[in-house]
């Protein structure tokens, strides 16, 4: 993790679970930093998911569920697990600067 990225994350507010609390602070650079912190290097395919997640949130005020993502984009379940290992919907929301998906209650 580079010192530069650390300093970006240090200026932002996160909740206990690592989700941003002030969504207005999100930029693509922030996304890269959060991803790197999670051990993920963002590729074009990650951005398909991140942009989709942000679009859904803007419309519904909810982060998309895994099923929503795989149904409405061309990213398959399998690919989601490769892109965002260990809880893909949660990881995608986290990197997209969105709250944890409320899908599971």
């Amino acid at each position: 993790m580079s010192a530069q990225n650390l300093s970006i994350l240090d200026t932002l507010a996160f909740n206990d679970e690592g989700y941003m609390t002030d969504r207005t602070q999100w930029t693509e650079e922030v996304a890269n930093a959060i991803a790197e912190d999670e051990g993920i290097t963002l590729t074009e395919r990650h951005w398909v998911v991140i942009h989709f997640a942000r679009k859904v949130f803007a419309e519904t005020k909810d982060s998309p569920t895994l099923r929503q993502i795989t149904k409405q984009t061309d990213v398959s379940m399998k690919e989601m697990y490769q892109l965002f290992p260990n809880g893909p919907a949660k990881k995608a929301a986290m990197i997209a600067g969105l709250p944890k998906p409320t899908g599971c209650i």
Partner: protein, 411 residues
């Protein structure tokens, strides 16, 4: 001409609404119609006890007609399609078309085992069972009678599922059942869940996770099933982990009714988007949703449908009278959790407050200890069946309040 209130589904929620609205609306002004495809009412919480021979099918079924008021027109038919922009519903039977002024959707949620690759192949109902249907639970009871042990894997395919505590209860009861039969040492129980722990809420997850461990049940967390390999008898996750089984007890993907999807009214799981506090459809002013059919972010449970009842019926009436709906539903859920050995646990929570330890004050019967095993909670669960048939679905007052109370809770 009379106006029409149409209720789709006569399960827990639809039956309660029919009873409440029949008592509230002027029969000279309103015609109430209820549609359901199935003449039998299933007490679904009872399915949990069937595999272990505690209940059998006869204990959980009653004719739907017994619970619907005579003032309501009851139609048994499949629903072909809902046309919300035209305010009408088409039925399969006699191709009847019912125009409505108000619509209540109460078509519930159902398991869809076909959603998982390989689930309904050769092993289905041979060594792969569900207990979320009466047939599944009964077939599993049959299987368990002669099973001589091995590895039992309990797997939740995907959230949300109705009654999210039922799989845990199943695990606890299985542990008890195998002990009673003197074969617990021959059965390995594995609990594989897509959640990061035993349950969805932090404090309850710790308490329930401890209980699983104490009972020698192994939890496999973050397991998202991709497929079932019937030949090798293994379930495989999207991140390519494998768990082999001798007996697979699955809680398949739960979805809203197909007709919701066909009618273009649902989300990707066929749940109808609703305002989580007023329970009005997000898209159509004259449509209200009760129970499992909606997408409100609370548990899908009979107790929740009951807590929604007041909000739905009051808001329907207000809307009919030209008033704004009130945001009165707080997501209140409470569940008795069977933990085996005649004991149980009780959790009580809503949109804002997670399950807390303490005592649940219930006039006349309680108090019930919260988040803690006790015998009285087990009796509460069994008494619930009586309350369900005799009070709850008839819309009679229950000795619990709709809004969650913090009385007795230790935060």
């Amino acid at each position: 001409m009379k106006k029409t209130l149409l209720i789709l589904g006569a399960g827990t929620g639809g039956t309660m609404v029919a009873n409440k609205m029949a008592a509230r609306l002027d029969a000279d002004e309103w015609h109430i119609i209820v549609v359901d495809r199935d003449e039998t009412h299933y007490y679904q919480p009872g399915f949990l006890f069937i595999p272990f021979g505690i209940y059998d099918a006869a204990d959980v079924i009653q004719p739907k007609r017994n619970f619907l008021p005579s003032a309501v027109e009851t139609v048994f038919s499949d629903i072909e399609i809902i046309e919300p922009d035209q305010n009408r519903v088409r039925l399969v039977k006699d191709q009847r078309v019912i125009p409505y002024d108000y619509l209540v959707i109460a078509t519930g949620s159902h398991i869809q085992p076909e959603q998982i690759e390989g689930m309904t192949d050769s092993g289905w109902r041979k060594n792969i069972f569900d207990f979320y249907t009466c047939e599944g639970a009964t077939a599993l009871a049959q299987f368990l009678k002669t099973w001589d042990g091995g590895r039992m894997v309990i797997n939740i395919a995907e959230m949300p599922i109705k009654c999210p505590v039922a799989p845990l209860e199943f695990a606890f009861l299985a542990d008890w059942y195998f002990q009673e039969r003197g074969m617990r040492d021959r059965v390995e129980i594995i609990y594989a869940t897509p959640l990061s722990g035993a349950f969805t809420k932090p404090r309850a997850t710790v308490a329930l996770g401890d209980l699983l461990a104490r009972k020698g049940i192994q939890t496999v967390a973050d397991f998202n099933i991709a497929e079932v390999d019937n030949n090798r008898q293994a379930i495989i996750s999207y991140d390519e982990r494998e768990i082999s089984y001798d007996l697979l007890v699955t809680i398949p993907t739960n979805m809203g009714a197909d007709v919701i999807g066909r009618s273009g009214m649902g989300d990707e799981l066929n749940f109808v988007p609703v305002d989580k506090q007023t329970l009005q459809s997000k898209k159509w002013d004259n449509i209200w949703v009760i129970g499992d059919a909606g997408n409100a972010p609370t548990s899908k449970a009979g107790s929740v449908a009951h807590f929604m009842l007041e909000t739905v019926t009051e808001n329907l009436k207000r809307h009919m009278d030209g008033l704004e709906p009130l945001p009165t539903f707080d997501g209140h859920a409470n569940c008795f959790i069977e933990t085996g050995f005649d004991k149980g646990l009780l959790i009580d929570f809503n949109y804002e407050v997670e399950p807390l330890p303490g005592r649940y004050p219930l006039p006349g019967v309680g108090p019930f200890p919260l988040l803690e095993e006790s015998r009285v909670n087990h009796w509460g669960k069994l008494a619930f069946r009586w309350m369900y048939w005799n009070l709850l679905i008839k819309g009679r007052p229950m000795p619990v309040s709709n809004e969650m109370s913090m009385a007795g809770k230790w935060s």
